[in-house]
């Protein structure tokens, strides 16, 4: 279970998150929608611990542990996963090396046995097959020369292998055509489980046709301003975010 309480965060002295509260139960999928500049991506970076985002108040706990005190790698070991809006290209680092290093670092931190090359390969092939991802991607450098769809599928693959308790999907739909979107959504749906929660950050309702959320929240001006069921997303799609912008202006 993830509990975010009164979260305040700033970048270069500018406050972006202004007292955000959010609780996601085990196995639940929540969506956060909101206009540009509302603080959606900031939330994902604050949760994952990126440099330059300063938390000035509040807590974020994952199963009772405050993750905000941890380094990014410790957060990953604790069970947090961030699927990037723009996955980073890392020339010269092979996918297999990358996955093996990541997986073993996380396993080591969790007190599990490290995998040898053969164990990793088996797991990788199995996971690729399960998610319908071609394993030729594994022979290349991390995200280098990947298409937009391949990059996002790669995020899903990493998520599947690292088995997080809580996954944040930051605008996973951006830059994807409808076919790629389906493949990625299918991958995410395949990973839905009793002990795994998701936070889907998106600007458009489209993604939520494929990844059905339990709850939808509207983030505006650094706070959750409205929460509801999946129908809220449809409402937003129809009316846009003008309502919230007006509220802010008032």
């Amino acid at each position: 279970m993830i509990k975010i309480k009164n979260l305040h965060a700033e970048i270069d002295g500018t406050e972006i998150l202004k007292g955000l509260n959010l609780t996601i139960g085990n196995g639940e999928v929540h969506a956060i929608m909101g206009p540009n500049g509302a603080g959606k991506s900031t939330l994902s970076y604050v949760l994952s611990g990126r440099d330059g985002y300063e938390v000035t108040d509040g807590t974020a706990t994952l199963d009772g542990e405050n993750i905000l005190d941890m380094s990014p790698d410790e957060r990953a070991a604790a069970g947090l996963f961030l699927a990037f809006q723009y996955p980073v290209e890392i020339p010269g680092v092979q996918m297999t090396t990358f996955l093996k290093t990541a997986l073993n670092a996380v396993r080591k931190a969790r007190g599990e046995d490290e995998l040898d090359a053969i164990g990793l390969l088996k797991l990788m092939k199995g996971t690729c097959k399960k998610l319908g991802i071609s394993d030729h991607m594994m022979k290349r450098a991390v995200n280098v020369g990947f298409s937009g769809g391949e990059k996002k599928r790669n995020e899903v693959l990493q998520m599947a292998m690292l088995e997080p308790k809580f996954a944040v999907l930051d605008e996973t739909d951006s830059g994807l055509d409808i076919d790629a979107l389906k493949i990625v959504a299918d991958g995410v749906n395949a990973l839905r489980a009793q002990d795994r929660s998701f936070l889907v950050i998106t600007h458009y309702q489209r993604l939520l046709d494929y990844i059905k959320p339990d709850k939808v929240h509207v983030l505006a001006k650094g706070q959750i301003v409205k929460s509801g069921g999946p129908e809220l997303a449809l409402e937003l799609e129809e009316k846009g975010y003008a309502e919230f912008a007006q509220e802010e202006a008032a």
């Binding site: 990014p72 790698d73 990953a76 890392i90 010269g92 090396t97 670092a105």
Partner: protein
């Protein structure tokens, strides 16, 4: 007016003594030509002094200042030949029965001295001509370079020693040969090496250097490669050691369809300075040359890379490539990069690139977000950076040894961080 300052008498200084104070112990030698060569070199050095930073190609490296702080005595060089020693032999005592081809090579004028007037270390090598070896590979000696062992030369430096070495290598027509140099040692010493390589028509020579000298040592090297047509020269140097190192290479491509590859990896920390100065002279058409260097600089270390491709008028259809990438791991580290192209032929393809930067924060964060601790993420990125060049080595053993040295260096980097953190607490 040439943009390059020629040697001027006003640069004369008295620092020649830093190199020459022990030279008299060598005289006289039994061979008259050796005596004469040494005396000419002594006279030349007394005239010019050692290279100072006023000289264009020594702008970033202050050798005399370093030598002044050292207390050295001339000693015999500690050289061990092993592996494929069939065609190699040490200089005979007193130069008796010295092969005439080797004498002719030694008596050649230092390359590019006319133009730059800065080949004093070559002259210092001549002044101390005594230790060294000859490799003479006969025509058509074919080796399976992967299966057959290379000639291995190990230089061991000893505290307080000034040593001087000459390597004379001739690979005749259609022969193949591989040389691996290992340089190591303890304490403060200076080893000055002059290497002359002559490659015949269709010859292939692979030349690898592991520069792991003590961090108080000075190592200066001049390498002159002369290539006939259809010849191939592959050099790879990995530098992790020495307080001050100068690796100067001059390649003359004299025949058509030859290929020269001059690659290297420098991994520097502490107060190390590593200077790589390369000149490739394309005299003949249809040749290719590649310079590819990766440098990682930590703490207050300094890297110097000066690479030049000079395409002479007849050298049409030249393909010249030069790439020097540097990674700064600390705010106090320094990288000096000077790429140069001088082209007189009108139908050539030449490119050069130089980058200096730090590790990619986005990539570091991406890896950390996947559970990889910061130090490990950083090491993976550095490894990937230098591997771009290591991958090009065509000798499997050398590639493996280089990979090992790199991972050892990275391991020390990580443990240094730990010490620092403890110290800060």
């Amino acid at each position: 007016m040439s943009a390059i300052a020629k040697f001027q008498p006003r640069y004369r200084n008295d620092n020649a003594a830093l190199a020459l104070k022990e030279q008299a112990v060598l005289q006289p030698s039994s061979a008259e030509w050796v005596n004469a060569l040494r005396l000419r070199a002594v006279a030349s050095l007394n005239e010019t002094g050692l290279p100072t930073q006023k000289l264009e190609r020594w702008k970033y490296t202050n050798l005399p200042a370093k030598l002044k702080k050292m207390d050295l005595t001339y000693k015999d060089a500690d050289i061990t030949l092993s592996g494929m020693t069939d065609y190699a032999y040490s200089f005979p005592k007193g130069f008796s029965g010295f092969p005439s081809f080797a004498q002719e090579m030694i008596e050649q004028t230092p390359p590019s001295n006319e133009k730059y007037g800065d080949m004093m270390l070559w002259q210092a090598g001549n002044a101390y001509l005594k230790d060294g070896f000859i490799v003479d590979v006969p025509a058509d000696t074919k080796r399976n370079s992967k299966a057959v062992k290379a000639l291995e030369v190990t230089y061991t430096g000893h505290d307080g020693a000034q040593t001087s070495v000459r390597q004379i290598i001739r690979v005749a027509e259609n022969a193949e040969f591989t040389l691996i140099e290992y340089q190591l040692g303890a304490g403060s010493y200076w080893n000055n090496v002059v290497t002359q390589i002559e490659l015949g028509q269709g010859a292939t020579f692979k030349h690898y250097r592991f520069q792991e000298n003590s961090d108080a040592a000075v190592i200066t090297q001049n390498t002159h490669v002369m290539m006939a047509g259809n010849a191939e020269y592959e050099a790879f140097t990995i530098t992790t050691g020495a307080n001050l190192s100068r690796n100067q290479v001059h390649v003359d491509i004299n025949g058509e369809h030859s290929v020269a590859r001059l690659n290297g990896v420098n991994m520097l920390d502490g107060k190390e300075l590593a200077d790589t100065t390369i000149t490739v002279e394309h005299h003949a058409p249809h040749c290719r040359s590649f310079q590819n260097y990766r440098t990682v600089v930590d703490e207050i270390a300094t890297s110097v890379f000066q690479g030049k491709i000079h395409v002479h008028k007849p050298a049409q259809k030249t393909d010249g490539y030069q790439m020097a990438k540097s990674l700064l791991l600390s705010g106090q580290a320094t990288v000096n990069t000077k790429p140069e192209l001088e082209i007189y032929a009108d139908d050539v393809k030449c490119s050069h690139g130089a980058t200096t930067g730090r590790l990619d924060d986005d990539a570091l964060f991406y890896m950390q977000s996947r559970g990889i601790p910061e130090a490990q993420a950083r090491n993976l990125l550095i490894e990937a950076f230098v591997n771009e060049v290591v991958e090009e080595v065509t000798h499997d053993d050398v590639k493996e040894q280089a990979t090992h040295i790199i991972s050892q260096w990275l391991h020390n980097l990580s443990s240094d961080d730990g010490e620092e953190a403890q110290w800060l607490e």
